[in-house]
């Protein structure tokens, strides 16, 4: 049975995703902090306890 995919395409897609993740990470405050920039604000724990929904939306009662 022939393979349902082409190996080089699969590797290419995964590499492209990895490169995008790396580009995003290398420009982030977390990376800057890890590189010794103590003033960079890394958001290692991203949470807003005052939000009203998992996406961070505010409560309807607080809307003006």
């Amino acid at each position: 049975m022939t393979a349902a995919y082409q190996r080089h395409r699969l590797v290419g897609v995964l590499l492209a995703v990895l490169v995008m993740i790396l580009i995003d990470h290398l420009h982030s405050p977390t990376f800057a902090f890890n590189m010794g920039n103590g003033r960079a604000e890394s958001a290692l724990v991203q949470r807003d306890a005052s939000a009203c929904a998992p996406c961070g939306a505010p409560c309807p009662s607080t809307r003006e």
Binding site: Y5, T30, L44, S50, C52, C55, G56, P58
Partner: protein, 402 residues
């Protein structure tokens, strides 16, 4: 994907696809090393949980979309009952954790109002046209399904558009989140959830019994339909109960380790917004992206965003499982075209837009919402099911089989 149907015709399968399995493992090692070196151990644990969830979703063929469609078109309820069992078990585990007074965990609660009703209804239509829900889209993409990759791309676009519109929708009539834990306490919240889920199960049973005269309890099977347990563990197909156990424990662990229950679609928002930002769009001008959590997530690495890290794990976990089953990309031998392609585009847009307005997908809003005893999850369930019914009626026009 329909577990009952796909299990009906056992065929001899070749051994694992070593290339795909190897590539998935290399991907997990590379990503895991990055997360370990650059972030924190708890995110590595969440990556591992995401991977396990991806394996469970693929090997268990745990598709919410097909379960709902089978009830409407085939009048078979095994898939629906499996979902209800999952919700009941997870509620039993997570509600006591959320009601324990710990300040380091937050449930998946959300406002009840216009945005939720419209969003979940649109999401339901999108599920049937796109061919999957949040988790279904992700694990089938991980398994190499090209049509679902189209759905995912437009899911992301729809989610970003939804994030730009959400503030307007939030100004329409709505009430603040209603937590049953706050209202009736932990035992009361579990009782209400179980009664509600039991009532839905009775309705599902009634539909199936009326059509067929008896129930097919495929959801209660403990042993694999073919082969030994050990072989099935690695190469599939898992009985529903195995997947239910892994998904329930996985969501509870996500809550304990990450501080909030399992969610998928916020990451789609984030990836889309980051892509636009990369193209020069200042997302900070939009209200949604000025709120604390989205703004934090947008400004920092995807490797510190819990839904993103878990989604990466889920994708690679599904790829690993599909490789073990030697079925990677099998669904893509025919390239999507014509109306089927159009359905993936429209479905993806509706999924993304609906998920943002509805405060999540079948995982973040429904599964995690019910396990958090939030009233919004019940509204989401009802409206998404109504939308799904419309979507099922639209499928033939898009040349999609029911």
């Amino acid at each position: 994907m329909n577990q009952a149907n796909t299990m009906a015709a056992p065929t001899a399968r070749p051994g694992p696809d070593r290339f795909v399995v190897g590539l998935a493992l290399v991907g997990l090692v590379v990503l895991g090393s990055l997360v370990w070196a650059e972030t924190a151990p708890f995110l590595l644990a969440l990556l591992a949980i995401g991977t396990l969830l991806g394996v469970a979703l693929y090997h268990g063929a745990f598709g919410f979309t097909a379960g709902w469609r089978n009830l409407v078109t085939q009048k078979r309820g095994a898939g629906m009952r499996a979902q209800l069992l999952l919700f009941a078990l997870t509620a039993l585990i997570m509600i006591p954790i959320l009601g324990s007074g710990r300040d380091d965990v937050i449930g998946a609660v959300a406002p009840v109002g216009t945005s939720l009703v419209v969003g979940s209804f649109l999401f339901g239509i999108g599920m049937q046209l796109g061919g999957g829900c949040g988790s279904g889209t992700l694990f089938t993409v991980g398994a190499g399904n090209l049509r679902m990759l189209v759905t995912l791309l437009f899911f992301i676009i729809g989610a970003v558009v939804g994030s730009l519109h959400l503030p307007w929708w939030l100004d329409l009539p709505a009430v603040d989140p209603i937590s049953l834990i706050d209202g009736v306490g932990v035992p009361g919240a579990i009782a209400v959830q179980w009664l509600g889920l039991g009532a839905v199960a009775l309705w599902v049973n009634r539909v199936e019994r009326r059509a067929h005269g008896h129930l097919e309890h495929g959801e209660l099977r403990l042993r694999p339909a073919e082969g030994g347990a050990l072989k099935a563990l690695f190469t599939g197909r898992w009985p529903f109960l195995w997947a239910i156990a892994v998904l329930a424990v996985g969501n509870a662990l996500t809550l304990v380790i990450g501080g909030s229950p399992w969610g998928i679609t916020f990451a789609f928002n984030l990836w889309g917004a980051k892509a636009l930002q990369g193209l020069g769009v200042d997302m900070g001008h939009f209200e949604f992206w000025s709120w604390a959590y989205p703004a934090q997530a947008l400004s920092d690495s995807v490797l510190v965003n819990i839904p993103s890290v878990m989604n990466f794990g889920l994708l690679l976990g599904a790829m690993l499982a599909a490789g073990m089953a030697s079925r990677f990309n099998e669904a893509s031998r025919r390239t999507p075209s014509g109306r089927s392609f159009l359905a993936a585009v429209v479905g993806g847009l509706l999924l993304g837009y609906g998920a943002r307005l509805g405060f999540g997908c079948n995982i973040g809003a429904l599964f995690s919402g019910l396990a958090s005893a939030s009233v919004h999850a019940w509204v989401w369930f009802a409206c998404a099911f109504a939308g799904s019914w419309i979507g099922i009626r639209l499928r033939p026009w898009f040349r999609l089989a029911n």
